[in-house]
Symmetry: C2
Subunit: 399 residues, 2 copies
């Protein structure tokens, strides 16, 4: 189940078995100057079949799109043992229903994915990174709009973290913060085909937004991606080491600033554990209201929580909200749930942006999906797995 | 059914009713510096609901991806009248099955699309265009690989046409060809955020590939897209007028070369009609074998056809094969069908890349889909429309 079957170096179509490790595939296609269209912390251990089944989004969704867009084909086995062969390496195929999407994100409850065909984009020749301090969330949103306009096609990540996210990571994990203390931080990454052009675009963006006041301070690093010289942080995130970083005055700094920045961003997820227990919510919310829930929860949990903070992929509407408490308690849980899901529902958000429904959340699914949708889901499950043998108890609640 | 409901200028999420005309939407989002993620000749008349139901691909799929990637949500009515509300303006939502994809490309046979939410990318600030003469199909493929590497993120179209496609269009429609006579032609378009950078990338690509010999001759035009100053050709394709074009020696030419080039490319579809009757096949085939069928059909139809030619979106594997005959005959039809579908099937292609199955092709669907897939399609149809009241006779053949 972990065989690479073919790679079309012209179209970028990769066909492989479902058990291939994402990182193995990424290394394989890199030899043909291609890149896997998704990248995540779990890269070194997760399987492409698992990625498809959980509709993994990952760090560069903004640039390379989601799996519904980049999956060219799938082979799956239904509960009755029938093989559904939709392996094709075509970008356009309008013959009949587009079945492969049934297997994307259904967490193995509608069939077992056995093979996939994925479109791999071209490996970027240059990667640049900026880390900025910003005065409020409104500025984060304005900056996102401006980044889309001026970095357009090269923008590969636009991440934000509030002060508590960064300060608790800095304090708990003793990590350096390359810039001063700010209410909000923004990380901007670009993937492009020309180092000079990309650095010019990012610097221009930085200059303009410093004079507009949206960016208060920041640092930019730029170097052609040394995709071979990679290393991994504690969570398995691949770090590309940069030898030089340039501060706001154009001075080269002596430390691998690239690493510092991504490492800081990627470490937020784990840092809260040192406060005691962490309630983690992985939700998505339309842009304008993206940060609304954090102050609401701060107020609600005042005196109960050590910290409440929010960080995530602004570009995808996906915010990770962490509530740290000295220790787990039923009281804290009851104050948080279902309250947070109700609030997400009011904002027309999703209660599980990336991590799926699994065993834990089936009874919360109605906060994100209406009754018509849920009953169609039940009908699909009944159709494809009438005896409920595929991942029972996952995704859908008991009727 | 033609109301625009909302546009989130930050995330680019547009929500509207299914009856909105694509061009109306495009004009609307343009005011916020956004662009619809699809563009096609039928823009002025087709509806977004129709686009979703036929999974329209269009001219810039290479750049903005397909509708499975850019559709954020859908509201649909099932055959039993139940409304399935999957309208969300989120890029990431992993709660339950991803139902919206059932309605993409199912040609109205599983439900009626009533509302859609679509992600609109940023309007490009610059558009550049190149038109090149190439000696053989192998060079077309090599050029495509090279264009992906050097134009990467700005490449918005990579189209090819063989000599017969262009020469019959030039002859039949008396259109000018901006370059000399070549075995194959390649049209490269870029959409980017910086005119200087984009023109530099395209010129560098041109220079390198002229010295490598892949490009024999060509013309490049470059100017920031005057997206307001648009006009339309006979087929409704939107033409952006360029005031200057630069020939291979860097001389400005006096004619609107942009128009000449796209017009020529877009007119191929209609030009064959002047030869008598045209058999048109809209197939997709993996890159390496993309052009294989044209010489095969030329040989097979020798003495019967006026011309056999191929042109299309190399970037999407989608080739339009036209066979012109003096007049329709059953003999010619029988020589072509199912022969051509059998050949496409052997090449693991699709017998309908863009135009769907409709009434005419249900009994050919098995050339593109295996038995397991077709029976799952039947089961879905039975589930969602047990009385067969939605678009009967479309998509699936009688059992
Ligand atoms: C450190 C870390 C960072 C992460 N970061 C991100 C991120 O940034 N973005 C994001 O979207 N996700 C992220 N994730 C979640 C990640 O997407 C999933 O854990 C991963 O895609 C699942 O793949 P797996 O092979 O580990 O599957 P498993 O964990 O083994 O399985 C996951 C689910 O899919 C089912 N499944 C697995 N294989 C198949 C198959 N072949 N056919 C059918 N069903 C199958 C399983 O039954 C199970 O329900 C992260 C996870 C970790 C551990
Ligand atoms: C000049 C021209 C150029 C074209 N170029 C391209 C191209 O480059 N790429 C490409 O992919 N396609 C192309 N097409 C095809 C085009 O994609 C489709 O014609 C168009 O998307 C259909 O939209 P419509 O509103 O015209 O639908 P209609 O033609 O009215 O309907 C098409 C099908 O969809 C169903 N349908 C329509 N609306 C709904 C709804 N709301 N809910 C459910 N079902 C519905 C209908 O029943 C029918 O089966 C072109 C067509 C023309 C005429």
């Amino acid at each position: 189940m972990n065989k690479i079957i073919s790679l079309d170096e012209i179209s970028g179509a990769l066909v492989c078995e479902a058990g291939c490790i994402l990182e193995t595939l990424d290394n394989y296609v890199k030899e043909q100057n291609l890149i896997m269209p998704l990248d995540l912390g779990a890269k070194g251990s997760c399987h492409i079949g698992g990625n498809v089944s959980t509709n993994a989004g990952g760090l560069r969704l903004l640039r390379y799109g989601n799996l519904h867009g980049s999956l060219m084909g799938v082979e799956a086995v239904k509960a009755d043992g029938t093989v559904v062969d939709c392996i094709r390496t075509l970008k356009k195929d309008n013959t009949g229903y587009h079945l492969k999407h049934l297997f994307i994100g259904s967490e193995g409850t509608l069939g077992i994915v056995t093979k996939v065909a994925v479109h791999c984009p071209v490996l970027p020749k240059a990667v640049t990174l900026g880390f900025f301090g910003v005065k409020d969330f409104d500025s984060v949103l304005k900056l996102y709009k401006s980044a889309k306009a001026s970095l357009g096609e090269i923008l590969s990540a636009f991440e934000m973290a509030d002060n508590d996210s960064i300060s608790s990571t800095v304090q708990n994990l003793k990590l350096p913060n390359p810039i001063a203390d700010f209410p909000f931080y923004v990380l901007v990454e670009t993937h492009g085909s020309d180092e000079t052009h990309d650095a010019e675009k990012l610097s221009r963006f930085l200059e303009r937004e410093m004079s507009s006041g949206l960016i208060i301070d920041g640092t930019v690093t730029s170097e052609p991606a040394k995709m071979q010289d990679t290393d991994k942080d504690v969570e398995g995130h691949v770090i590309t080491w940069f030898t030089a970083a340039v501060d706001m005055d154009g001075n080269k700094q002596g430390h691998p600033c690239w690493d510092t920045i991504w490492n800081l961003r990627e470490s937020i997820a784990g840092a809260g554990l040192l406060d005691g227990y962490v309630y983690k919510y992985d939700v998505s919310i339309p842009a304008a209201r993206y940060y609304d829930l954090v102050p609401v929860l701060r107020q609600r949990m005042a005196g109960k929580a050590v910290k409440v903070y929010g960080y995530g992929h602004v570009g995808d509407g996906n915010i990770h909200i962490n509530v740290t408490v000295p220790e787990y308690s039923k009281e804290a849980t009851d104050m948080l749930e279902p309250f947070i899901f109700e609030e997400v529902s009011k904002l027309k958000g999703s209660i599980s942006a990336e991590h799926g429904v699994g065993f834990r959340k089936p009874h919360f699914i109605h906060y994100s999906k209406d009754e018509g949708a849920i009953s169609l889901m039940r009908e699909l499950k009944q159709l494809m797995d009438p005896n409920g043998i595929l991942n029972p108890y996952k995704v859908l609640p008991d009727p």
